[in-house]
Subunit: 209 residues, 2 copies
DNA sequence: GTCTATATTGCGATAGAC
DNA sequence: GTCTATCGCAATATAGAC
């Protein structure tokens, strides 16, 4: 039973800090608030974190890396060679990740400025890599004449902007279920690309792992 | 010649502060930096502002109010009774405003949390009003069978998310001109709504006042 | 590991001379 | 209006007892 649902202090601190950073922002959150939320006094925090900045990095950590891995994995699992199927798999992973890890994703976007230079540059680079990956999928669909691409960068911006926005308001139990959200935004995406039978294609494929 | 291009101190302070708030965020910006950018010492700032919070409110001020007015005016000027024409006019105003006033819009979104309660609630209310206005335009197009509406709230979220994203990266002299940006995003919007001849309709109408 | 001090820094804001 | 000097406070971070 070791390592089960039990959260150690470091994990509790990260979770509570993430909640506060999400609600109030990194700069506006004090370590006293974090400590209090975690059931500790300020001084005790430093048995678990190196600094406030270190805590932020733990939270933002490797969100973008994990997003890229996740979406690439989704695409890799697709058997079909249809570029639109591949793009859909990417979008499903993209949207699901943004909803399921909404707080982390939101912090990762909003607090990019709060990171020290090196870490920030790493994230920026990885993000460009991520956008290139999606843009390539869009372009493949375009070359196969299955999509009418206006500007692949802007299409990707659109996907990114929408998912980021979802991360700002999604919470389980809202008006729309996660599956509905994935389905709707996938329809929007395919429509934006003038994919034939966009609505039909998008239905019922919302189950990304 | 009075009141011409001459910027008074208060205006300089607002502009420099907006630049810094945009780049680093409100909390991370010190009034000493603002003063320095405006060519003053800290103490002198207080001859022009009441407090740091007051300065933020001056900058965020009435962005959302002006956005709503602007977009409503764009729609009101449309002679055509075609709901899609009206929606397009709104989108052109929406996008143009977000690009031209990018810094203010961006701050208005990112620093909503930094506002005192009352001011924040005002903005939230106005924002809901704005989104309702856009949603009504979407629904009109849907009822007229000129658009296939999936979920008008989500369509509006999509417009909002995209324009907000644009406000984060647009600057004059970039890869795409403002007119190109408006045209592209309008095409995306009309495509999302399955408007017939979306691409043709969106072309060459990008000149919002 | 926890806690109670406390050191240190830098912030917003003010006072008062010019 | 500008400046210099400083107040008062709250923040991060540390020291050291338990």
């Amino acid at each position: 039973m070791a390592g089960s649902a039990e959260r150690n202090s470091a994990q509790v601190i990260r979770d509570e800090a993430a909640k506060l950073f999400f609600e109030r922002g990194y700069d506006a959150t004090t370590l006293r608030q974090v400590a209090s939320a975690a059931g500790l006094k300020v001084g005790s925090l430093y048995n678990h974190i190196g600094s406030k900045e270190d805590l932020l990095q733990q939270i933002m950590g490797s969100v973008i890396d994990e997003l890229l891995e996740r979406v690439q994995a989704c695409v890799a699992e697709v058997e079909s060679k249809d570029p639109v199927d591949r793009l859909q798999a990417a979008l499903a992973g993209h949207l699901t990740f943004h909803a399921e890890r909404a707080q982390q994703v939101f912090i990762g976007n909003a607090e990019l400025r709060s990171l020290p230079q090196e870490a920030r540059e790493n994230v920026v680079k990885k993000r460009a890599e991520y956008e290139s990956f999606l843009a390539a999928l869009v372009d493949e669909a375009g070359k196969a004449k299955l999509a009418e691409v206006i500007d692949s960068k802007i299409h990707v911006y659109s996907f990114v902007a929408q998912a980021t926005h979802v991360a700002g308001w999604y919470h389980p139990g809202g008006r729309l279920s996660l599956n509905e959200i994935v389905e709707i935004y996938t329809r929007l995406a395919l429509r934006e690309l003038n994919v034939a039978d966009a609505d039909e294609r998008a239905v019922g494929k919302a189950l990304a792992k």
